[in-house]
Symmetry: D3
Subunit: 326 residues, 6 copies
């Protein structure tokens, strides 16, 4: 095994491979002549690749983990325009000896630095009940750990470890500068809602080897989860202070969370009904769309076309050369 | 003042009136010749009536309460096909001396009897955590008082004191008999959700002299409020028992509440994803539509037409004689 | 051939097979080396299976019926996670010697017993013209035979022989118990409409070896067909009695049929405009959704997931464990 | 009473009036000082006008027919930009002495001539069963009388006596010329469907003093009624000839009727599924839109604006001067 | 006439008035007793007011301008909760002697200062063809005069003189700060599109005494007009330089204009297909919504309610106290 | 190579082939045993065919053009119900020696004859500015060449060389005859708009070896392009005549182009607002639907079914035998 990992995104046809992949979706198949072979999906943090092992046996098949790490020797080839890897030999590999960050898609930003910047932005909040409420979240180490690790979505935008934090910070930065332009807005309320609008995703999505919905995520959803968390933390603040948490503050903060998708169709039970709710809705959308479009341009495989493939979530293809007018 | 009240719904042109009404929307106006007169709305539990007092003064105008009770002497007359009351004399009247039920629209069923029947139906629940959860609601006298008094809606269906209870019982009765036809359903879960699906309306709507949205109702909404109440009561159950409230039970019960409007457009953040959620959605709708259609038929004023007026919420007019095939 | 049939749903990889299947979609293909082989679909009432016959010839291919019965010898194997059957020998098999119920998906309820129960429920109808109208349907043996055999849909719900009857009975049972809760409803009219609402499906769908739309079903549709049948039978009643069939009764019964899909988008030319039409619409939907959700849970193949696959017709995945709170 | 009628559309403020109107919506009202006066609507075929009779009595009020003819003396005046008629004296007037065509909105084309032209166009049909089917309609004098008198709609387009015929002829003329451009089309089928597509309106709408929906029209609708009439006449043809009416011909003709609104939202239970159905849909729409736009331009009252008022059914205002480029 | 103008927004019942108003919608009416009176609308830049002049004559009526300035003496009074002005005497007033800014709704910002700031922001553009293109607009004094005067909409947002400039500057400011957060964006292209996205409104809307659509605005629309203006100016640049204007730059700039409404339903013929188009769409919307919500809060007349009236364009009522958490 | 070309649409399994095809989408693949083979798509104007070349080498692969002409020897065979061609030998072939019309889908009408007929129809236009404007287009040889060659769409309708002309002529013919039926219409304006409504497609779509969107087509769209061309030509007319082009004529012509898709959802920034716009919209749609339905019937491969496959753009399957009632 080479010391230097070749990432999937960099592979070309005809390379010899001798390194570890994350393996999924293994399948034992029979050829016409009765021979067995194995098909599987090989992954690292940069992408996925079909693997094929000819002259297989049931023993070999069983030795491959259902979802785990596999040391593979073989060579790459082009199959119908897609790269695949012909596996000549393989054996399971212990996770402990690996740098997991090579295999799981992760933000390429520094998580602690982002977290620090987000806290800095939140420090501008002066309203005392809101400060205490946010403190309840920020001092809950279990919550913070989950928040830092969570993706922002399964596929749509920021679907990787740290994605929720990266996206939240993106919205916070934009909110901070936009707030200066509209002094009528309640900055405290808006900044608090930016931090909290998607926290429910830490419970809606798993952040393990693959990103999927939790049962609670699917049945209850991150919007309602976040509203409940705010309710619960407000109760804790009230217990601590011995005074009721201000009702209007609570109502408005929950309203911002509940309405941030902007329309019923995307799962918001309430439509924006305060100016701040429109700011949150548009800047949240803006940050997500920047990820989606820039990422689609960056990863588009068809160099000959000036447009990406059709993106169903945007109902269009994206033109790839708006950055270059020459 | 006669001992026997004449209700607004029974009045005809040309009657002499000497009794108390609830008064609203008073307005001092000037005629062409500079004389002042008062326009106001007179109400009792059966309907509303325009009141008009000629030869008014600012003093008289101020003596009429903004929203309160008024003893009126005068006569009824027909004005453009609508009855109005020409007020000859009036003075404010103390609420204490009145039977409020004469003035506020109220269910015509016995509230305690309905509540008893609902509790009977809920007694069929065997699952222990659900029983304890419901107990937390049922033994909270403040909640129960609000629940019994709450309307089910501002206008759409059961918009009167006790309407929420009457509607909840209607859905519970239908659920009880339908459950016997589909034995695969989880009866405990479904009955609990029937009880709880609309409880948030007790906080969403006021149930005073007029029914309106509370700030929290408008900003957060009864669906999310109910989900939060369930969360809070489940926490209390867990504290009491010293064991975590079963997560799946909590997820499913909240899912039923969140999805009971059936589609995103009506404010459900989640679509029904368990068989029980479809039952709740259809039987809730069925009971509401029975109220809306039967009430529209009953109160339609145009005797000459076989159809009611156009009902925007149903996108049609209702035919009034389906009960009579002869 | 074994005496005891192995149903497709029970097969596992590696079994030797020697029995009859219903065959469809046969296809003669050439391998790279110019050899011919046959692909086909093998069916019984429990499901379908791909069949593959290597070293084929045109003669063998022609000997396989286009849609008919085939005696097959061979072995099962797993191909890309799906079972297939490698056919070693085969010959056509006469339908007469088979129990067709082994091959065509059929209700697992007793058809005659269901029919009897449905007639019992309809006996509660007291209105004489409606009784005579229903009698015209019930005494038409050709209609009754088709009604008992018809499926309720091609795929959505109850897509099997007897499905229309099973679904109609499901709606009738629910209607019967719900009617007791809303005494204002016209029970005669509603029960008659429950029986007739989907009868057009007996002409819209074939109920032969495979369920497909008839030309008339596709061009005219079961809703209009049912309305026409009611028109024609009412004419026959009028001829028999010498009196015009009561117009209002006819109008309302046809209205119930025409509006039972509830919204224009699902092909209803009229929206519900009588209370009874809402009952029919909701209980029809309820019974269909119970089939769809419970069936999706029952047949879901992915044991590891707590949710079924995505169901486009419900716009969600269904959670499989709502019946089990423990 | 002058010999020469002044039509409402021609009246200006300040005229003395002495002639008969159709009266509707009479209303007895009380002034502030207790005096009675009468408000009513006066109509002729060109429009409507508010009538007001001061110093009324109950006797005078009762003498005015609820919906009938009234001989009126009085003068016109402008009231808030709208013309009204101050009635000085009035008495009921016998319908027999009037030319009803002065009072009911009627096509300004010759009905018999239009009917003759329509029959001429239909004579091009060669297919024998279709010819016989159409004959069944055309020889039914009761049907023909109703068809000639029926409006094409309550308000949307051709809402006057003879409107259905005028519209049907408009579509027939356009179809005739378009057919020559697309020789692949089945001309017989298409022409028959043009004649029959809206015949149900003869039963859906009343064509008396005012145009309203019949109960059957509201509950069943003209689309289904027309499909049923075709079914019934086809049965009569079959009885007469002793041969079954060709099923495909019947299916296609009914399909054309059922799909001619083009989309479900406008009440079509089926979408166009043959080329002819698209022709019917577009030319039907074209003729209706020509009426709606040209009529809106012709009757728009605001001479200063280059656009008509907003037309909700077209979701726009119509520019009035496209005919004049100078 | 007082030296100091009383603006309509500040008037209360019972004031004596002696000053000039802009008058519109004058109407001569007859009372029951045959007396004439005049109704009209009185306006200044702060709002509108009904005016009523009793004991009128045709001469007085004619002396009032159809749309112009009127010196009025009279007194204010409350009529059905709305203020009206009883006119005792009036005469037309020459526009020359007035400060028009008192009568026409105008931005309360300094127009030249806003224009200067906008030009400053545009100076950051480095791309030469874009600079030349913008210069063509900025040096066209007729265009600049129209741009500075134009409103941003008839009613929705910034419906006043200078509104287009105020809104454009608002979007430009937000774009400038957001651009720093997303360095991948093409700043030149985006800033140019911010300036040009709504310029077509200068031709779509009139900016005279009342704001209405021009014929070209209604028939062609500001989106297409702006795209055409860019096309024409690019042609001029090409003529001047003797080189073709870069096609990609032109395509992208027009794309930004055409897609800035974001969805087809709001009249965009193209959906956003470059990252910059999403930024323009969201920040344009954000600035408009800030105006709409803050303005609705500021002008809401019902002090007792915590919510504004229902705003159809936002499908909700706006909560008025989000700025104040205490 | 045979003298007589065998077109793809006529090929059957088992033929020996020796002729030229247009080749696309070539792909070099590896078999299990490491052998290379080539997959490619072979085209002529009648359709496409998969080509497969076993025992390939990189040299052979490179010798095949990426998109160009290939002389092929081989034999046809059936693969999974689809015809494929096993290539035994091949070499590139010079385009100059070919009749390109054999390879590119082209209208089967005579282009010059269609163009002549279209000009004849346009000659009926009497309005001078419109005549001059059209002349500017018709005398621009570059435009005319592109217009004659352009397809009307990528896939939906008339997707072949000459398709735009064929479709435009189809709409022009229908407009000509319909105009006679509605004499109120402005024939000059309507005919001019028929000619120009889709001209932008000459710039929106390429018309080379394959039909795709140009960058400008995708970013700006044919509707706006056409409106701009009209603007530019009108400017040229004005320059030539020294008089402004009549503004109303320009507004209306552009309005017709902008609104001809009829609804916002299909990319029309304006809804039809003159009678002529409805005619253009319906007859444009009619001609397109005739192509789509008749073509779907003609090319449907499944002879056993009375319906075509499901057509997503029409949301239905098309019945294939409406032309034949027997």
């Amino acid at each position: 095994m080479d010391n230097q990992r070749r990432f999937i995104t960099d592979l070309t046809p005809g390379e010899s491979i001798d390194q570890v992949f994350l393996v999924r979706d293994k399948d034992l198949r029979t050829t016409r002549s009765g021979d067995l072979y194995v098909m599987c999906t090989l992954c690292d943090r940069t992408g996925t690749l079909n693997g094929r092992l000819w002259q297989a046996s049931e023993g070999i098949f069983r030795s491959i983990p259902t979802e785990g790490f596999l040391h593979v020797k073989g060579r790459t080839e082009d199959y119908r325009g897609t790269l695949q890897l012909i596996i000549e030999a393989c054996r399971p590999y212990p996770a402990e000896k690996l740098d997991l960050a090579d295999f799981l898609a992760t933000t390429d930003k520094d998580i602690e630095q982002m977290w620090g910047e987000l806290l800095d932005i939140l420090r501008a909040i002066e309203n005392k009940p809101l400060r205490m409420l946010i403190k309840k979240f920020v001092e809950d180490t279990e919550f913070v750990a989950a928040f830092k690790k969570a993706p922002a979505a399964m596929q749509m935008h920021h679907p990787f470890i740290g994605g929720l934090l990266e996206h939240t910070l993106g919205v916070a930065r934009a909110t901070k500068v936009v707030l200066e332009l509209y002094p009528e807005l309640n900055a405290d309320l808006l900044l608090a809602s930016v931090f909290l609008h998607d926290v429910g995703k830490a419970a809606e999505l798993t952040s393990g080897i693959s990103i999927t919905y939790t049962d609670r995520g699917q049945l209850v959803g991150h919007i309602t989860i976040a509203a409940m968390w705010v309710q619960e933390r407000a109760r804790q603040v009230a217990e601590e202070t011995g005074e009721a948490f201000p009702q209007r503050t609570l109502d408005l903060l929950q309203h911002l969370i509940l309405s941030h998708h902007g329309v019923h169709d995307y799962g918001s039970p309430k439509l924006p009904a305060i100016p701040e709710a429109f700011v949150l809705h548009y800047l949240d959308n803006l940050d997500a769309k920047m990820y989606m479009t820039l990422r689609a341009i960056e990863t588009d495989v068809n160099a000959q076309s000036a447009f990406t493939t059709y993106l169903p979530q945007l109902e269009t293809r994206i033109y790839k050369h708006s950055q270059d007018l020459s």
